[in-house]
Symmetry: C2
Subunit: 202 residues, 2 copies
């Protein structure tokens, strides 16, 4: 881009590699950082450098944990329900569910979903260790909390098949209208699900 000093252009390029950050956002951020205290850039740089160096995956649930820990905080916690397991696609999903405060069991991160089109099969995900954990017999319920998408649904179906015959309640998160939404703007699939899953008003 003419008139853009190289260090700024480098930062714009690096920012553009982030998801959801286009050329305009990248320049806006770069110019913000140019006029912000240097501390803002340096802290971000430090956090970026430390990110992968200081983190590892929990050997049990594959959540993010600090390098050197035997397992992640959630696996190590003693106050949690040992009988229910929530299976999610990504570590971020754990945060989202934890924020609700409505689930107090254990987690398992698949690190993706089955996707034949993109060549992702069962062995590319943390499915084998999941099945081992479940076959251990500790869990009474497994919540398959993959995303309500085609791939998420297919992955949940596959996992249900793999867990067939075990003495387990296998559940999926409810589909329906998002709270605070408007019928008028609901897409047809969501509305179909909301109708099919309608509940008695007690």
């Amino acid at each position: 881009m003419p008139g853009l000093a190289e260090p700024v252009q480098n930062l714009v390029n690096a920012l553009e590699r982030l998801p959801g950050v286009g050329p305009k956002t990248a320049s806006r951020l770069a110019f913000y950082l140019l006029q912000a205290p240097e501390d803002v850039s340096l802290r971000l740089a430090e956090a970026l450098v430390n990110l992968k160096r200081s983190t590892a995956f929990c050997p049990q649930c594959f959540n993010i944990m600090l390098v050197g820990q035997p397992m992640c905080d959630l696996c190590a916690a003693t106050q949690r329900d040992e009988t229910s397991l929530c299976v999610v696609e990504e570590p971020l999903d754990i945060l989202v569910i934890e924020r609700t405060g409505a689930f107090r069991g254990r987690y398992h991160v698949l690190h993706g979903v089955l996707s034949p089109i993109e060549g992702v099969g069962p062995d590319d995900l943390k499915i084998r260790p999941l099945l081992e954990r479940v076959r251990g017999g500790q869990f009474k319920e497994v919540i398959l909390a993959t995303n309500p998408s085609m791939e998420g649904d297919a992955t949940a179906l596959y996992l249900r098949q793999q867990m067939a015959g075990l003495n387990l309640r296998i559940t999926r998160l409810a589909r329906g209208l998002p709270v605070g939404s408007d019928l008028e703007y609901a897409d047809q699939n969501t509305l179909l699900r909301a109708l099919a899953g309608r509940q008695d008003l007690l």
Copy 2:
């Protein structure tokens, strides 16, 4: 946040300090970087560290330039129109105008706008060096390209007063309906400006 390893939380905190990045975007970006090749984080970190160390303000127009250069590329360029000067609020505005390819003169960056409420007066901006440049007599036209906002308008008016008596054409960017927009969605002020500035169809 419970369950979030400290290095990830540090990155989320640093990202949240960026404009337009809330807690959700910050976590999404942090978890993206966790699973992306480490190179993505490290390049961004390097660009951030180099940003302020390698850049300075052009002593003439106050655009960004490389440390050690006598002046910025746009001031150094010999092929540009020496008689017109475009005054902008921020260095980013130069990029936006350069991208149009419709202006080939010189620039001057104010580094802000007058804002009595926020305590920004003429001496907090690069107004004195602007007036010196303009009094040099080189320019025939000064385009006051501050933003079409209250502060941008007030700053333009102030600059016009300061430049009164000089043999100069002083202009402001046209107001009106954005190209590709819809009358129905235009706000009243824009529509008023568009009406007042209506042009003969030739």
